[in-house]
């Protein structure tokens, strides 16, 4: 009688990647339709690479109707910076760089010192200032709910007050696919189109779409040293202790962040399917394995998010 009953089983059921893609494209179009000045945060990492591809798809054959922005700590991997510029040029979008170095030079923030010094937390100030300067009312971020427990509770459209702060106790209920996009002047919304994606979904999508990645995601030889169980790359921005000896290792990066706090993992994976097999088998989360910044306390991410972090 009805199509539903005569349809072969599964015919009208989307695969998981198609479902996630359709949802993310819907979210991006909703932002483009309802906000005046959106921006897409683009670091050159795998999640933002997926976001940029989704943005191309959402508005095709039209151009992406918003710029992309990179919050540059000045301590990024050179391979990633090269990739960033190449990919942005290919997509034909405007790139805005919010520079942590400029903030330090202008005396707006103070450079942390010492062995565990990292500019990671300084990104928040640069990000918020750029959002204010450019009067952005929506900023797409690549965060996923599977990454971290504070993120598991965050909305897809996450409200930020005029100070850029997140208040986990005053989040707007989010039902169906009906998103509340209303804000007052000076406030903004962080939008997370990849909320429902897992790390494996991101890799699956990269493989399916044949997306280009910075070379450091694949296995290579590198001079590293070990700190708190994390393999850090030798680089000019980090203060290495005398007890921290350098050695060569075959590694790749599972996440891409600041050189001072992003660790490498031992790996010989040079192809996407090898990386996916590794991730499917791993017993440690990507942030736990590679991010020194999340180890400071159980609520490290929640605290940084409250201040306005990504």
């Amino acid at each position: 009688m009805s199509q539903a009953n005569t349809a072969p089983r599964g015919r009208y059921q989307l695969s998981q990647l198609d479902f996630l893609e359709a949802e993310a494209i819907f979210i991006m179009r909703e932002v483009a339709a309802e906000f005046e000045r959106p921006v897409l945060l683009f670091s050159g990492g795998k999640d933002s690479i997926v976001m940029l591809r989704l943005a191309e798809k959402a508005f095709w054959p039209g151009a992406i109707p918003f710029p992309v922005m990179h919050v540059d700590t000045g301590h990024n991997f050179p391979e990633v910076m090269e990739f960033r510029d190449r990919r942005v040029a290919e997509a034909g979008v405007e790139l805005i760089v919010a520079s942590v170095q400029e903030q330090i030079d202008a005396g707006k923030v103070v450079e942390p010192t010492g062995r565990w010094a990292s500019r990671n937390r300084l990104q928040t100030a640069a990000l918020l200032e750029a959002i204010e300067t450019h009067r952005f009312d929506a900023a797409f971020g690549g965060a996923r709910r599977d990454e971290e427990k504070a993120r598991a509770k965050e909305r897809v459209f996450s409200f930020r007050d005029e100070f850029g702060q997140w208040d986990p106790k005053a989040q707007r209920p989010e039902l169906w696919n009906v998103y509340n996009t209303r804000i007052n002047m000076g406030e903004h919304i962080r939008v997370f189109p990849l909320s429902n994606w897992t790390e494996l979904d991101v890799w699956g999508y990269i493989a399916r779409e044949k997306l280009d990645l910075p070379s450091i995601y694949f296995s290579h030889k590198r001079q590293v040293f070990e700190r708190d169980g994390i393999l850090l790359s030798d680089n000019p921005f980090i203060t290495r202790g005398e007890d921290e000896e350098l050695f060569e290792a075959t590694v790749r990066y599972r996440t891409v962040g600041d050189m001072t706090c992003t660790g490498a993992v031992r790996s010989s994976a040079v192809e996407l399917d090898e990386i996916m097999a590794e991730i499917a088998a791993t017993r440690i989360t990507e942030r736990g394995q590679t991010r020194a910044d999340d180890r400071s306390s159980e609520a490290a991410m929640e605290d940084r998010k409250r201040e306005g972090y990504f």
């Binding site: 349809a7 039209g62 504070a150 598991a152 986990p168 009906v178 494996l200 989360t285």
Partner: protein, 422 residues
């Protein structure tokens, strides 16, 4: 990677073993990682708890860990070779009704946990009611802690019958009962050897096999126009006249060549092409995000609806709906003025009448109620400044659901489910 996704909500309190159940599903599907488990073990020890408290895995916010309760909906992810799952872990207490409603709104299935010793509680009935109010298509009553009633078939049957009797008052389309012990793993992933009298599936088997493909409305074609794509590329003459209507199919199947009607104009035309960046499609169905090209030029903008000439939603400024009120600071009263966001359309509405307030525990209708406050549910009549393209919520969750927004604070203050439009 070609599995489909099942979204399910879990309702129940910590006492019912909800966190233990989620912990077990995540643990047995290898979705809990060593560093997460280490952190939880450290915290449990620090608090002097004997067992590793798996609830700490799902309580993500500082306030929740401090108070030892789940406040907000947490989303969890796990996969088996057959399916990918998204869990909306919702708090069970009545003061968090809005959070359960939120979690249920996108769920294909809901699991309500009952403690076999205590049987049905007031909150079990409330959870079942909210699940059906939100039209979650599949319901599982998980009778947990069977190990504490000696795996008694009699006890299970008693609870099953009591719940079945209650369920006849509700609109439940698919109900499954599973006796289990989340703590011991009985009937969670594998069939239990302790309950040979039970011949149904384990919970995970049920989650992997429940048929959800026909839950979405594939009959009433609905395409809320979300965004108009006009490339404006002078260099490419082919794109000069391109007008693509982008959106997510909310119901039915659209095929190339179909005769369609545009609302609110009532004009008809045909689907010329259904496009995605990956190529042209013969048909589009929910929840695909596509771009439609039409044969005739019609003035179409965001908030409009494409449907079939012989199958249209109600075009109306007057709707009756069940509303769950979600504001801590403001009440819903007759003559309240609010914003409504329904599909891709936003309009002003006035509350014409509060017909009754529903007691979510007893289902009693209080027709003398003067207002709705936080977490209360009632039937209201709304008058909108613009026509809405409305379906009954039970026919289509996407074209029958809406949110209410306070114009002053911009807060989402209510969720509505259309009962009737005229």
């Amino acid at each position: 990677m070609s599995t489909d996704i099942l979204r399910f909500a879990t309702a129940g309190s910590v006492d019912d073993g909800k966190s233990t159940l989620i912990g077990r599903l995540l643990f047995d599907s290898k979705s809990i990682f060593e560093d997460q488990l280490d952190a939880v073990e450290r915290t449990s020890r620090g608090r002097g708890e004997e067992q590793t408290n798996l609830a700490l895995l799902t309580d993500g916010l500082r306030a929740e860990r401090e108070q030892g309760i789940t406040i907000d909906v947490a989303y969890r992810y796990f996969a088996t070779p057959r399916r990918t799952f998204i869990i909306a872990d919702t708090p069970g207490h009545i003061q968090y009704t809005r959070n359960m409603v939120t979690g249920a709104s996108t769920s294909d299935l809901a699991i309500i946990l009952v403690d076999a010793r205590k049987g049905l509680q007031e909150q079990s009935r409330r959870h079942a009611f909210l699940t059906t109010l939100l039209q979650v298509p599949h319901l599982v009553l998980a009778v947990n802690k069977m190990d504490l009633v000696d795996y008694s078939q009699e006890r299970f049957e008693e609870i099953k019958q009591e719940f079945s009797a209650f369920a006849t008052k509700l609109d439940v389309s698919d109900l499954t009962f599973i006796p289990m012990s989340a703590l011991n793993g009985d009937n969670v992933v594998d069939r239990s050897i302790n309950m040979p009298w039970y011949d149904g599936p384990s919970l995970l088997h049920h989650l992997e096999h429940v048929h959800i493909a026909s839950d979405r409305n594939l009959i009433d074609a609905r395409f809320p126009v979300q965004y108009v794509i006009r490339p404006h590329r002078a260099a490419d003459p082919e794109l000069h006249d391109y007008r693509g209507y982008a959106g997510q199919v909310a119901g039915g199947v659209f095929k190339r060549g179909d005769e369609i009607m545009h609302l609110p104009s009532g004009l008809t035309t045909r689907v010329a092409k259904i496009l995605t960046p990956d190529g042209e499609l013969d048909e589009a169905f929910p929840p695909m995000s596509v771009t439609m090209l039409l044969e005739d030029e019609i003035d179409i903008s965001r908030g409009d609806m494409l449907c079939r000439p012989n199958n249209q939603p109600e075009v109306s400024q007057d709707i009756d709906a069940m509303v769950c009120w979600m504001s801590e600071s403001r009440k819903l009263t007759p003559r309240s003025r609010l914003l409504i966001k329904h599909t891709t359309r936003t309009a002003k509405v006035m509350v014409r009448d509060l017909l009754y307030r529903l007691d979510v525990n007893t289902l009693h209708r209080d027709e003398d109620a003067a207002d709705l406050s936080l977490n209360e549910i009632g039937r209201v009549s709304l008058r909108s400044t613009q026509p809405l393209f409305a379906d009954e919520y039970k026919e289509n969750r996407l074209t029958g659901g809406f949110i209410l927004i306070d114009e002053g604070t911009n807060a989402t203050v209510g969720a509505g489910m259309i009962v009737h439009a005229d």
